[in-house]
């Protein structure tokens, strides 16, 4: 089916300027308003880059101070004790926890979010879809500390049933075995994060699915496709890169989530084989937990860990852009 290969571009909602328009804006700044605007926007751009560079320099400097004093190996030590003489700290557990909790969140959230977005755009009656979309958006407006409190007070006590079930039927895998500790583990954190990132993924996916050209869908319908086949052949391929972008936005939130994780998780500096064992930690949670009482040295160490999170986030986003870009090259839409 030709439709599927023709339509894999992410549709930026803004109209693309034509070649003549571009020429005019880059060469012919003749009127004063144009010149002022050009100067303003160029200045803002440069200002932004300078701020970013200053932040980067500051963070790198403070981080290098801390790492040079670290008695353990910054990458592999399973401990965070910056008050010892010499201080010993490492990010292994934090990196592991950050990645694992985000993976759990993505695995749970992405399919549900896509399903909700499809439901709103293609199945629900218009009168019903609007309010549902609105309610989902409301989830995004809830501050993360509220999610944290809700998680600690309501979600955690209600997880024991699920944990028992997982232990009974999937305990043999090792990663779902449960020793009976309070359910303040990576799995609970992942579930909470999934709920938190749901709105952003749903919202962007919904917009993308809305942009699917009517012609594609009608063409598919005309060929006798069922509604599910229309979605499979025209909507999903068209929206794929948009959904990936949406997921990356969600992933960014999951990677950096602080207060909710700090409230729900029972952190320690060990890597647990089972997702159901309380313990582990994430970068952001560790910074929130340790910052208040940290000494100068401790803060530098936390900054160093934050820098690692920054790098991880950049890598993930870069990888996502690469995936989207590669898909673009092969698609016919841009030719």
């Amino acid at each position: 089916m030709d439709i599927s290969t023709q339509s894999t571009d992410a549709p930026p909602p803004s109209p693309q300027p034509s070649v003549t328009e571009q020429k005019r804006s880059s060469h012919g700044a003749t009127r004063p308003g144009d010149r002022i605007f050009l100067g303003l926007s160029r200045g803002s751009g440069i200002f932004l880059l300078v701020i970013m560079a200053a932040i980067a320099v500051f963070l790198t400097y403070r981080a290098s101070l801390a790492i040079s004093k670290d008695h353990g190996n910054f990458l592999t030590t399973f401990e965070w004790n910056t008050n010892l003489v010499p201080p010993t700290f490492g990010i292994a557990v934090l990196a592991f926890g950050t990645v694992i909790s985000s993976i759990i969140a993505m695995v749970l959230a992405v399919p549900i979010a896509v399903a909700i977005a499809l439901f709103i755009t293609h199945y629900a009656p218009r009168r019903f879809g609007g309010p549902v979309a609105y309610v989902i958006d409301l989830l995004a407006a809830v501050p993360s500390i509220v999610y944290g409190l809700w998680g600690a007070l309501i979600l955690v006590p209600h997880m024991t049933g699920l944990y028992g079930w997982l232990d009974t039927y999937l305990g043999w895998t090792g990663i779902f075995s449960w020793q009976g500790g309070a359910p303040r583990s990576m799995l609970t954190v992942g579930i909470l994060l999934a709920i938190m990132i749901l709105p952003i993924i749903t919202n962007v996916s919904r917009e993308v699915f809305r942009q699917v050209p009517q012609m594609h869908e009608e063409a598919a319908l005309a060929l006798g496709a069922t509604r599910w086949e229309v979605i499979r052949m025209s909507v999903l391929p068209f929206g794929r890169s948009g959904v990936i972008s949406a997921s990356m936005l969600g992933l960014g939130r999951a990677l950096g989530e602080t207060m909710a994780v700090a409230t729900v998780l029972s952190p320690d500096f060990l890597i647990h084989g089972s997702l159901l064992d309380p313990g582990g930690g994430t970068f952001a949670q560790n910074i929130a937990s340790k910052f208040g009482e940290a000494t100068e040295q401790g803060r530098d160490a936390l900054i160093a860990s934050g820098l690692v999170l920054f790098v991880i986030t950049l890598l993930v986003n870069g990888a996502a852009r690469a995936i989207i870009a590669r898909r673009k090259e092969y698609s016919g839409a841009n030719a």
């Binding site: 004790n81 010892l84 960014g252 950096g256 409230t263 009482e293 000494t295 986030t313 950049l314």
Partner: protein
């Protein structure tokens, strides 16, 4: 056209990186300090006894969250009497308080532990011709709260406590616990020991007690970060209390004011004739057993944590106010002095027991008063 598309892509990548960074910083700035509002009660003091002298202006302070409720009560009473003074105590944590003090940002700092030698050195830069000193102002019992179905009273001693928190004892019907509680019906239930996930003066003092009282069973070096492996953790005293309340078989340490509504506090068998309950009076008795170890006008205390004195509750925390002995800033000195004089006064100390803190015993607080009068 192709080239322009590449540029746009690079720009988007950059924009994504930037917005990612912004998102990260946005998360990082979430306020963590405002949850420790467990006291809630307010105490009124006889406003007539507060001497304002020529105190006025704004007083900035920062530090220990453990004494935040006490400071709040004091500030309320003091500013009612002396309307020209504004006191702004930010309970950002002891570490933050000391840092702010040595950088000269605050008039005084609250801290759960006395200044370290290098911090004293650092304070000389701020205290013109003097150094930072520690004034003990507030005592607090650290309660060992438990939640065991069917058990109303629990007695523990230091070795058992150490083994429980070091995951060496894992069931409530363990022989060691049975021996201390012959009358209790201890269930065959897993012990879930909760400690603090954030660095904390409460952890520091709790582990200092274990180190002093049972060094064979608690071999960790101590400090504000929890060091033993195993067990579970939660942020702040309120977080630990919450977990103990909702987890069957849980035990955890917390400031006394949090040990209520479904949490019972264990009594400690110190070797005195009867197990000691975690109460305000018993804490003051334990502080009375302390030695002043500070030099000069510094009044930092060394608690006798392995105390066997009758009725002295050993798991105790003393928090200090840190000021310069000489060389306080001229514009804040009158207000600082007046406020400290009030909180060290009989009325000021009387406020404490109403909000689950322990007053400092008479002999030590008398020395504090003398020191405050000499501040310059």
């Amino acid at each position: 056209m192709k080239l322009q598309r590449m540029n746009r892509r690079a720009l988007t990548l950059g924009a994504l990186a930037v917005s990612g960074a912004l998102a990260l910083t946005a998360c990082g700035s979430d306020d963590t300090g405002s949850k420790d509002n467990g006291g809630g009660k307010t105490a009124t003091a006889a406003a007539g006894s507060i001497k304002c002298d020529d105190a006025k202006g704004q007083l900035l302070a920062d530090g220990s969250s453990a004494q935040k409720n006490a400071i709040d009560a004091w500030v309320k009473a003091f500013t009612q009497a002396c309307s020209g003074v504004q006191i702004n105590y930010k309970g950002g944590g002891s570490g933050a308080g000391v840092t702010a003090f040595t950088q000269g940002q605050v008039a005084f700092a609250g801290s759960d532990s006395a200044l370290k030698p290098e911090e004293v050195t650092a304070s000389k830069k701020v205290c013109n011709g003097g150094t930072g000193i520690d004034l003990p102002m507030v005592g607090g019992p650290i309660a060992v709260g438990f939640n065991v179905p069917g058990v109303e009273k629990l007695v523990l001693d230091a070795p058992t406590l150490a083994k429980i928190f070091d995951s060496k004892i894992s069931k409530w019907n363990d022989e060691a616990i049975k021996k201390l509680n012959p009358d209790a019906k201890l269930p065959d239930l897993k012990i879930q020991a909760f400690h603090r996930s954030d660095e904390s003066g409460t952890t520091d003092n709790f582990t200092k007690y274990l180190i002093a009282a049972t060094p064979d069973n608690w071999k960790y070096s101590g400090g504000k970060a929890w060091q033993a492996k195993g067990g579970q953790s939660a942020p702040q005293s309120s977080g630990v209390a919450q977990q103990v309340k909702q987890t069957s078989g849980a035990i955890g340490y917390m400031e006394l004011s949090y040990a209520k509504d479904g949490i019972k506090a264990a009594a400690i068998d110190t070797g005195a004739s009867a197990p000691v309950e975690a109460t305000i009076e018993n804490t003051t008795k334990a502080i009375a057993d302390a030695k002043v170890v500070g030099t000069g006008s510094d009044l930092s205390l060394e608690l006798n944590r392995a105390t066997k004195a009758e009725g002295a509750y050993p798991i105790t925390l003393v928090t200090y106010e840190i000021v310069c002995d000489k060389g306080n800033k001229a514009d804040t000195l009158p207000a600082t002095k007046a406020f400290l004089r009030y909180i060290a006064s009989e009325d000021g100390q009387k406020v404490l027991s109403g909000i689950d803190y322990a007053p400092i015993p008479t002999e030590i607080i008398a020395k504090v008063r003398t020191t405050i009068d000499a501040l310059s």
